[in-house]
């Protein structure tokens, strides 16, 4: 099987190139066929690979060719396949395939059908390169590739300038993280003269003391890159705005795959992060802080996609928490279950939006459960998993994270309590969403029924969201096995009960007594606190104040080219002198003769006076 590994990222790439080349000439059916089929084939190959790996779990390293060799730098185009890669590849290709299938119908009436599939295929290809790469440089290529595709797809409907602005914001904010990551790569390279992940990690463990400054620096730089890509505080502000893109894009890029690239990076480099406890602690606190912030913001949003976006930020916060406390397996496990249920939720919201004339406001929906039973079921399952209700996939992974956090020696209980509060709020906002959208009076009637291309991915993801918790990931050989002390019984009980409590509160507020619903949660603009939360803790405004405004001010100064003024003055002086002297160029010969004579007189005058001075010495 291993001879065909390179086909997995290549197929979507070829399809993307093909679709870009012939975008205007292909019939939509063929476009869908190519776009979905290539990812489907990749998914098939990946499944094959996975089966082989499960039977015979060997590390698989394939070096295709040398990409570049400059003095010490020797970067190969090579793939390294282990358990983590297998998990990521399965998520990317299988969830990616389902989302492609969903898109066939969702985007059916869009004029730029082929362009959409070209971008989406390119994204899948870049993401596969990211997770399969055996060195950091190729990983960075994939990392930037997904960034570009994210930019292209967020701004897919570029006809509206607000979409373009959102795309630029997404690109620029992640670029801050990317730059930090590049610096991290440079630090690592100057230290070890290699970018190969395996040899890098082993030589780092051999050479660096625990807690050494340089290791913390490298880890923090990588963390900044991961935080930018995975929308963690303080670089998370781009994700809610990135919802400007088509909904399947949000499902694929901004929920299931790209935003988890940061988690993947840290899990992949965990051997490095273990050396730096400070960086790990920073990851844990960033994770729990972001998850709380985003959860509270999600509580007051009115746009269905923004709720899901904040919830994504919050859930990735949980993954970071897991990474920070050293529960690598739990992080990857949550990454997978989150990919299932969040893709499900986004696709479900896409189905609703598709049927409700692109209505995004949840208060204009309502009572949809009778009209759209499949969507309702998928939302119910997805939100249950998101809220971590028992026996859904989210329950297992989140429980694992919280228990691992509790067991951290120093800050464990604090992190655990934060995570628990987040879980409560998560349950509250997810069932707020379900109750408002699917119960109560009907506000807007759906105008069409969704076809099988939308239903099939929903049903498949429903099943995955339910049973995903029972999967055993082939990660044991990869991560150091933690000694799990069995926590006190009350900790487990509280962890299980908290989400149920959240659901109960939501039920009380939104079903039993709609009149008693606090204004706080329904009309965010009337209350200062909820308005503050609605705007994402006003971080955008803060960034505008401290970064964007000074920058635009500076650019407006530079627009008038202050330094050029000096040079323009020289030019102006020359022009004036030119005008002055061109007056003397009158074309009258007598005037020239006169000037020659004047010059002659002056020369002779010098000749008369100077030699006297000279002869004196």
């Amino acid at each position: 099987m291993q001879e065909f590994i390179w086909l997995i990222p290549l197929l979507p790439l070829l399809s993307a190139i093909f679709l870009m080349g012939f975008s205007s000439k292909l019939p939509p059916n063929l476009v869908a066929c190519f776009g979905t089929g290539s990812v489907g084939l990749s998914a098939f190959l990946t499944c094959n690979l996975t089966l082989g790996y499960l039977k015979d779990p060997d590390l698989l390293t394939v070096t295709l060719w040398t990409w570049m060799r400059v003095s010490d730098l020797n970067a190969n185009v090579g793939f390294h396949i282990d358990g983590l890669t297998i998990v990521m590849m399965m998520i990317i290709t299988c969830v990616g395939f389902l989302i492609h299938l969903f898109s066939c119908e969702f985007m059916a009436h869009d004029k730029s059908y082929a362009r959409y599939f070209a971008y989406l295929n390119m994204f899948v290809s870049a993401m596969l390169v990211l997770v399969m790469s055996d060195n950091l440089l190729l990983l960075y290529l994939g990392w930037e590739g997904v960034g570009v595709c994210s930019y292209l797809l967020v701004g897919f409907w570029y006809q509206h300038s607000s979409n373009g602005r959102a795309a630029r914001k997404a690109f620029i904010v992640t670029r801050i993280g990317d730059t930090a990551m590049m610096l991290g790569l440079l630090v690592l390279f100057t230290e070890f003269r290699t970018l190969d992940i395996q040899s890098l990690v082993s030589s780092a463990q051999a050479r660096w003391q625990t807690g050494e400054f340089i290791s913390t620096l490298a880890c923090l730089l990588l963390l900044a890159g991961a935080a930018g890509k995975s929308a963690q505080f303080p670089l998370h502000t781009w994700l809610p705005d990135a919802m400007a893109g088509p909904t399947p894009v949000s499902a694929l890029i901004h929920a299931a795959t790209m935003v988890t690239a940061g988690v993947y990076l840290i899990a992949r480099m965990h051997g490095l992060f273990i050396i730096s406890p400070h960086a790990l602690l920073a990851i844990a606190f960033i994770g729990v802080g972001t998850s709380l912030m985003a959860a509270f913001s999600a509580l007051v949003q009115t746009d269905i996609k923004r709720i899901l976006a904040y919830s994504t930020i919050s859930q990735i916060g949980y993954m970071f928490l897991a990474l920070g406390v050293g529960a690598w397996g739990a992080a990857v496990f949550h990454l997978m279950t989150h990919a299932f249920f969040k893709a499900l939720l986004f696709l479900g919201s896409g189905a609703i939006i598709h049927c409700l004339h692109h209505e995004h406001d949840i208060f204009k929906m309502g009572g949809l459960w009778r009209r759209m039973p499949i969507t309702f079921a998928s939302f119910l399952i997805g939100c249950s998993a998101l809220a971590a209700l028992p026996f859904t996939s989210g329950f297992f992974s989140k429980d694992l994270i919280l228990l691992s956090a509790y067991q951290l020696k120093e800050f464990g209980p604090i992190l655990w309590a934060g995570g628990l509060l987040g879980a409560l709020v998560t349950a509250l906002y997810s069932f707020r969403l379900v109750f408002i959208v699917f119960f109560g009076p009907i506000q807007t009637f759906p105008d069409k029924e969704n076809g099988w291309k939308i239903s099939l991915p929903l049903i498949t993801l429903c099943i995955l969201s339910l049973i995903g918790g029972y999967f055993t990931l082939p990660l044991n050989s990869l991560f150091p096995i933690e000694q799990m002390r069995h926590p006190a019984l009350w900790v487990e009980v509280v962890s299980i009960i908290t989400p149920l409590l959240g659901v109960l509160i939501a039920y009380m507020l939104f079903i039993r007594g709609p009149t008693r619903v606090p204004k706080l949660l329904t009309s965010p603009h009337e209350n200062r606190l909820s308005h503050f939360l609605f705007l994402g803790w006003k971080l955008d405004e803060l960034y505008d104040r401290i970064l964007v405004l000074p920058y635009t001010h500076l650019t407006s100064i530079l627009l008038h080219e202050p330094i050029d003024k000096l040079y323009n003055a020289v030019v102006l002086l020359n022009q004036k002198l030119h005008a002055l002297f061109s007056l003397s160029q009158s074309g009258h010969m007598r005037w020239y003769v006169v000037s020659i004579v004047i010059g002659f007189i002056m020369l002779l005058g010098i000749a008369i006076t100077i030699p006297k001075g000279l002869s004196q010495w």
Binding site: I601, A607, I608
Partner: protein, 167 residues
Amino acid sequence: MLELTLFYIASIVALSATVLAMTRTNAIHALIYLIVSLLAIAVIFFLIGAPFAAALEIVIYAGAIMVLFVFVIMMLNLGERGDARERQLLQPNVWLGPAILSLILLVELLYLISTVEGPASSGSVSPKSVGLALFGPYVIAVELASMLLLSGLVGSYHLGRRFLERG
């Protein structure tokens, strides 16, 4: 004594003829005065011991070059209409400024040459010695002069031919 007298006479003739030539309105009249001036200068050449140069001055300058002028003036056939125009131009306000400039230059030059002493002539320089110098150390200059004359010939032919064809 005779030489000195002849020199001063020739000088006065040359200067006055030149001034007259410069102030004429009729080109032919000016040309005649100029020829007179050239002949007077040829006399000076002879007096200071350069008989070969004096002969060339008469033959080439007064003879050939001036005749070229005459040809061209006759070819243009200016007639009387140029005269009035020229007369108008010789107003004091036209020549006062240039005259002052020339005066300054003259004073400067005279100041520079005032220190020169000694006789102008230390015996006659024969054509033979001139010929020897020409084809000895100055042979490259002679070649260059011949090329200059050739290019002058080609240039004037080129310029004049068009006039003859179309005019």
